[in-house]
């Protein structure tokens, strides 16, 4: 199955999907030294996002997001790509600053079309998300 959307940051990435149902903040929800979700208040506490395709509704939280993304990039702990319903300005600047391929505004809701564990190929330059069900 292929979904078509728009580029937030170009590039390509593929890997196993991690679907997070709630808005995501890099500050507090990604530990840049491990790539895991460090908050025990998060439903997916402990889940690694390193090399994964992070699928989520939109961003939230602190304007520090890109700094966390930057350090995670330096440590090689960022998601391989990100897919969201619609990026707000801070999550968009995380993708650009940390050079994470990212797509949004897809023709179908990615939260309904992608399940955690699916294999997903993201061509963010072309705005195409290919989903290979698990």
């Amino acid at each position: 199955m292929k979904l078509k959307g728009y580029t937030v940051n170009p590039g390509e990435g593929e890997g196993e999907a991690v679907v997070v149902d709630t808005p995501f903040s890099f500050l507090g929800e990604l530990d840049p030294s491990t790539g895991k979700i460090p908050s025990p208040f998060h439903p997916q506490f402990g889940q690694s996002l390193k090399g994964k395709i992070l699928v989520f509704p939109t961003g939230k939280g602190s304007s520090m997001g890109p700094v966390i993304g930057w350090y995670a990039m330096k440590a090689g702990k960022n998601p391989a790509a990100m897919v969201c319903i619609e990026a707000e300005p801070i999550i968009a600047s995380v993708a650009i600053t940390a050079n994470i391929p990212m797509v949004h505004k897809l023709d179908k809701n990615p939260l309904e079309m992608i399940e955690s564990g699916d294999y997903v190929k993201v061509d963010a330059t072309a705005g195409i998300v290919e989903v290979i069900s698990k």
Binding site: S33, K60, M64, G65
Partner: protein, 407 residues
């Protein structure tokens, strides 16, 4: 700028903003009045975006953050890691390098998350690209400025170029509220700052990215009450446009805040919702508390006066500490007024750092229970210590009483 005619830094900043603008569907750039940036940015980012830049295109002021030089000199607290909690920190060498770059660019050394208390007071319709989401909310709600949600890298890029993508809250049609907040079930008469914070935190979490309007808060809300109400709207949410009828310049009436339309949804805040937030932020008992933290966002001069009054003839309990974040300018005025001497005599620590998200007493020394009157700080202490640090949540007086005793 994109062609490199203004140097490599400007070219990189403009390239960043162009990509951001395309992602956000902006068709053009808008001129920026004021920018507020972070001194502790990764040095590589700061160097790259300012290479060849001799003068910024906006008035630029500085956020507080983690100051590794201050913490080592005063409290011998240093980290060999690149993070304090999950907040990044430049090491001492990089931080000194950052300060030298910023000084050369004649950036205002405000070191505060409340620039509106130190002379950076936006006019209605000014375009403010401010780091720190609490300041963005204040600029929109209290001053009617156009302060869209943006990150610390975007505010740096706008400082260098003087522009930002024309989208979001810069467009008048995007500023109207769609979610109406009703608080008639709450007893607002006795609302403390902590209560306003709990309300703002709850509403922000429900609102997500939507614009909101409080229809029934008193139009006599003080700057401090507004600060505690609006600053946690983005702690677990992304609500950057909060109208308060009778307070927000664009919201003389509910109709004006809604743009003449009907609210898409109404949120009635119940007493139980407030209690749930208080319970969530009260997972430490008072006798466990070893640290009280105020100033998230930074204290105003009136709050410093209150703190001095509460600390009169009191001293710290054994092994207890009290830390408050305050800007250099507010500190200087409070010093003249005699407040600082009282606060310091009681043994409290005052600094111009970020006292919540990157407070090394919590994130490096590992204090496990903190009292605060700030919902924003309480949430940061929880989330950025992976739940290790618990909090007591109450008004300033009750927090002060937990860590001090009569002299």
């Amino acid at each position: 700028m994109l062609e490199g005619e203004y140097g490599p830094g400007t070219q990189r900043a403009m390239t960043f903003l162009k990509k951001l603008g395309e992602a956000l569907g902006a068709e053009k750039m808008a001129r920026v009045t004021s920018t507020h940036i972070l001194a502790g940015l990764p040095t590589e980012i700061l160097e790259q975006m300012t290479e060849g830049v001799t003068k910024t295109k906006t008035v630029v002021s500085l956020m507080p953050g983690f100051d590794p030089i201050y913490w080592r000199e005063k409290y011998h607290l240093v980290s060999d890691k690149e993070t304090c909690g999950s907040v990044s920190l430049a090491n001492e060498k990089d931080y000194a390098k950052n300060l030298a770059i910023l000084k050369k660019l004649k950036v205002l050394p405000t070191f505060t998350c409340t620039p509106y208390t130190v002379g950076i007071v936006p006019r209605r319709s000014d375009v403010c690209i401010w780091s720190g989401t609490s300041g963005q909310n204040a600029a929109n709600s209290m001053f009617g400025a156009r302060a869209p949600r943006h990150s610390v890298t975007t505010s740096l890029a706008s400082s260098v170029t003087g522009v930002v993508p024309y989208q979001g809250l810069l467009k008048p049609e995007n500023r109207f509220a769609e979610l109406l907040i009703n608080t008639e079930e709450l007893s607002l008469n006795n609302f403390t700052y902590a209560d306003y914070g709990a309300l703002g935190y709850y509403v922000g979490r429900v609102a997500g990215t939507r614009n909101i309007v409080f229809e029934d808060l008193p139009n006599t809300l003080t700057l401090e009450q507004c600060k505690y109400l609006t600053s946690p709207l983005t702690t677990d949410g992304a609500c950057t446009m909060c109208h308060i009828v009778g307070v927000t310049p664009e919201a003389p009436t509910l109709e004006a805040a809604l743009g003449g339309k009907k609210a898409k949804e109404v949120l009635r805040v119940r007493k139980k919702d407030m209690q749930d937030v208080r319970d969530m932020f009260n997972d430490a008992s008072g006798n466990e508390v070893k640290l009280a933290v105020f100033g998230c966002p930074h204290l105003t001069i009136l709050e410093l006066r209150e703190l001095a009054s509460l600390l009169e003839n009191r001293r710290m309990k054994e092994e207890a500490q009290l830390m408050a974040g305050v800007s250099n300018i507010t500190y200087a005025m409070a010093k003249e007024a005699g407040y600082i001497d009282t606060i310091v005599k009681a043994g409290a620590i005052l600094n111009n750092c970020c006292v919540s998200g990157s407070n090394p007493l919590v994130h490096i020394s590992g204090v496990s229970a903190v009292a605060t009157n700030s919902a924003r700080a309480a949430r940061f202490f929880h989330t950025q210590t992976a739940g290790r640090c618990r909090t007591y949540y109450g008004d300033m007086e009750s927090c002060v009483n937990l860590v001090t005793t009569a002299d």
